[in-house]
Structure formats: structure tokens, C-alpha cells
């Protein structure tokens, strides 16, 4: 039962260009969405979040867009840097933060110098 889906297992982007990572969800009870970045053999590192009352949240080079009607969110990274190469996980919860997170399968982003 994949309630959170990341349909692109991998993505390659030229350094300096925009990286767009996508995530779809099926559970309409999800209320809070997060993006995590993960390196091999390390824990997920929080990047940015958005609650369902917003459609956009921006933090430096990272912007998350939420389209509730389409049950879709995306993470934009601009400009992309080599250090951004990692696996990116989308996660969702039923309410703010402290409810359990349901993770997507991840997208491996490779930034090409």
C-alpha cells in the first residue's frame, strides 16, 4: 500500500540548473509534508516542510509546492549544486510533525558538474 509515491527513482541535472523532484500521495488525511535528504549510511536530514494550509514554502534554494487537489507536491532546488547529490525522500503525516511519517521510495538526484 504505497500511500506516498515518488515515481522517478533517479534524476540527473546539470550544476546551476533547476532540480525538480516530484511526489504523489493517495491518503487525503495527510496534512503535513516534508522533504528529507539522505546520504548512504546516514540518517535522513530534514530540508523543508509544508502544511496543507499553504501551497508554497520557500527556504533559500529550496521551494516546496503543494497541490492538494492533485495530491501532488514537488521540491525545487535552484541553483543545483554538486553537494545536492543525494537521495531525496518525500514524507507525509496526518498532522503537524509528531505523528508518524509515511515515506516515499526516494529519488536519487545526481548533479553533474
Amino acid at each position: 500500500d504505497q500511500q506516498v509515491k515518488q515515481n522517478s527513482p533517479s534524476l540527473s541535472v546539470q550544476e546551476g540548473r533547476i532540480s525538480i523532484l516530484n511526489c504523489d500521495y493517495t491518503n487525503s488525511m495527510f496534512d503535513y509534508f516534508l522533504w528529507y535528504k539522505k546520504y548512504p549510511a546516514e540518517g535522513p536530514t530534514f530540508l523543508i516542510s509544508i502544511s496543507s494550509i499553504k501551497d508554497k514554502n520557500e527556504d533559500g534554494r529550496f521551494t516546496v509546492f503543494l497541490n492538494k487537489s492533485a495530491k501532488h507536491l514537488s521540491l525545487h532546488i535552484v541553483p543545483s549544486q554538486p553537494g545536492d547529490s543525494a537521495v531525496y525522500f518525500c514524507a507525509a503525516s496526518g498532522h503537524f510533525g509528531n505523528e508518524k511519517l509515511t515515506f516515499g521510495t526516494g529519488t536519487r538526484l545526481t548533479i553533474i558538474p
Binding site: 505523528e99 508518524k100 515515506f103
Partner: protein, 113 residues
Amino acid sequence: EPEVTQTPSHQVTQMGQEVILRCVPISNHLYFYWYRQILGQKVEFLVSFYNNEISEKSEIFDDRFSVERPDGSNFTLKIRSTKLEDSAMYFCASSGVSGNTIYFGEGSWLTVV
């Protein structure tokens, strides 16, 4: 910056043995979690803990698993009668009051042989 710390970073155990994974959550956090990631798969929720009791657990968290907060700082995951399929990276996480993000530790890699 405060962080979640986990020990050991890697543990190898014989099938059938008991293991204890330890975590020190961020000091002012109130909600504690264990997640795991089997190699090549997505991060999965195991259990959440609040106010000295389990608030939610997944199907993975069967009666071989237990959690404990023995003092004001540590949060442990115990797995009894380990099985080969318990081999995974186990992540401890914590969050503050409602509305806060869940922060993850670096993980403990468990190998059952």
C-alpha cells in the same frame, strides 16, 4: 545544532540473540520514534513514544520488539530473538511540541547472521 545520537553505529549479532540499540534524542523533545530502512527499500515507521508510553506502532513492531526510556535522556529499542529479516538500518528520531519537525539520528546498522 542539537542532534539525535545513536549507538552503536554497526552491530552484528547471531540469529536468535537479543540486541539493544540506544539513542539520545534532542534534549527538549517530547516525542520519540524508531524507524528502519532495509537495504534498497524505503524508510518505515516502527513505533512512536510519548509520555512514557507507546502512542503508535506498526505491524513490523511485533512482540519481539520493545522500547524503553530508562532515564531522562536515553531511548532504547530492544529486539529479542533476532531474525535474519531484522537486518536493516535503524533510525531513532525525535520531535518537540506539536508542529515541530521530526529529526533523525545517523542510524544503527544491524546485521543478523
